[in-house]
């Protein structure tokens, strides 16, 4: 292979700066990755809650009050939306992470795997809601 032969320049390497803005697919990918931050933020919020619980009733009530503030409600709305986007984009890529599965001689479709993921999400959400309502009442 001859590169950079005398009197000529070698192969030209194009810069990667701003690569993720070049295609809507990459923008969506970056958004997907960013939603992981939302998960992190919510994990921190819950962790603080656990710590406050350990510190006694007054501390825990203080945490609960803080959660009801307008700023917190706004934050939680953003986090909830991010979680939904996160779940959607994760289920979109999930079939790609699994080996080919044959059911009854036919290949399990990606759509089936995605629907199973959403079904599980909805089921867990329903169960958690039910538990929360039962705990309150």
């Amino acid at each position: 292979m001859s590169h950079g032969r005398p009197g000529t320049r070698g192969p030209y390497v194009r810069p990667m700066r701003g690569w993720w803005r070049r295609d809507p697919f990459f923008v969506r990918y970056m958004v997907r990755e960013a939603t992981a931050l939302a998960v992190l933020v919510y994990a921190i919020v819950l962790t603080v809650g656990v710590v406050r619980l350990a510190q006694g009733e007054a501390a825990f009530d203080g945490w609960l009050r803080a959660l009801r503030s307008p700023a917190s409600l706004l934050l939680h709305a953003v986090l909830l939306l991010s979680m939904v986007v996160h779940a959607h984009s994760w289920f979109e890529i999930m079939p790609k992470t699994m080996p080919i599965i044959f059911v009854g001689g036919r290949r399990l479709a990606a759509r089936t795997i995605q629907r199973a993921g959403w079904a599980a999400t909805v089921a867990v959400t329903v169960v958690v809601f039910a538990l929360a309502l039962w705990a309150r009442g």
Binding site: T8, R14, D23
Partner: protein, 251 residues
């Protein structure tokens, strides 16, 4: 509407290392017909307007993998991309992204070929068989497991799609890893252990962050994203099993 269009403009990124330091855009106007591919448009340029425009092509039917290029910002095979879908133009044509440009629309392919050569891309039979014993047996279902992964035409559109490869040219990349997986998953093959080192390396599956654009652009539905990401589990299993097995054990 299509009948009114008589010609279309192409904007092609030229690079002639013997003349210029950096690539420059050049415009051409070519006659238009309804079933014209971008490749045919480029051939018109070379035949009639500018013989110095260099690009690879051969089969014209999306099976040889020669004619990959960026068309309006997306990796595509020029022989099966039709100008009618890109009207009114101009059609922007550039060499495949993430690869060094040698000249005009020609990129360096030898890096890819070296990676391909490095993964033991051949059948390492699980058990020996003489020719007199005939073919190895393989059921249609076993064949279907590797059907998509064995369809890769080495066109490198997936490399142009993969930002991780763009950022790190040492990444083995989607196409080669799909081929590696094709052999690992072939029911006749017993060479998985020999290919593990490539998979496990930093430049193996672990450079992949599941962007998924590779599978999106693949013209043969190979699904390299699946091949790579399936093998993250295998690579992790291999890593942990190593602690459970005495040194020198083979699987």
């Amino acid at each position: 509407m299509p009948e009114a269009v008589k010609s279309v403009e192409l904007e092609v990124l030229r690079y002639r290392p013997e003349q210029e330091d950096a690539p420059v855009w050049q415009r051409y106007r070519v006659p238009y017909s309804h079933d014209m591919s971008v490749l045919q448009a480029l051939q018109h340029v070379k035949d009639e307007l500018d013989g110095s425009l260099s690009f690879r092509w051969s089969c014209r039917m999306a099976i040889c993998g020669s004619c990959g290029m960026m068309i309006n910002g997306k990796p595509a095979l020029s022989c099966e991309t039709f100008v009618r879908d890109l009207l009114p133009g101009p059609v922007r044509i550039e060499a495949l992204a993430h690869l060094p440009i040698e000249r005009d629309l020609i990129v360096s392919v030898d890096g890819f070929v070296k990676k391909l050569e490095g993964i033991k891309p051949y059948l390492i039979p699980k058990e020996p068989r003489t020719l007199a014993q005939g073919e190895y047996l393989q059921t249609p279902e076993q064949l279907e497991r590797i059907e998509s992964f064995s369809s890769c035409i080495n066109c490198m559109l997936c490399y142009a799609a993969c930002p991780q490869f763009g950022l790190n040219p040492d990444f083995i990349g989607p196409g080669v890893l799909a081929l590696l997986h094709r052999y690992n998953d072939d029911s006749r093959d017993g060479g998985r252990a020999q290919r593990m080192e490539v998979l496990n390396a930093e430049e193996g599956v672990w450079s992949c962050t599941a962007v998924g654009y590779c599978s999106e652009v693949c013209p043969k539905h190979v699904d390299p994203a699946n091949a790579v990401n399936q093998n993250k589990v295998n690579s992790a299993k291999d890593y942990f099993l190593r602690f459970l097995q005495p040194k020198g054990a083979t699987r």
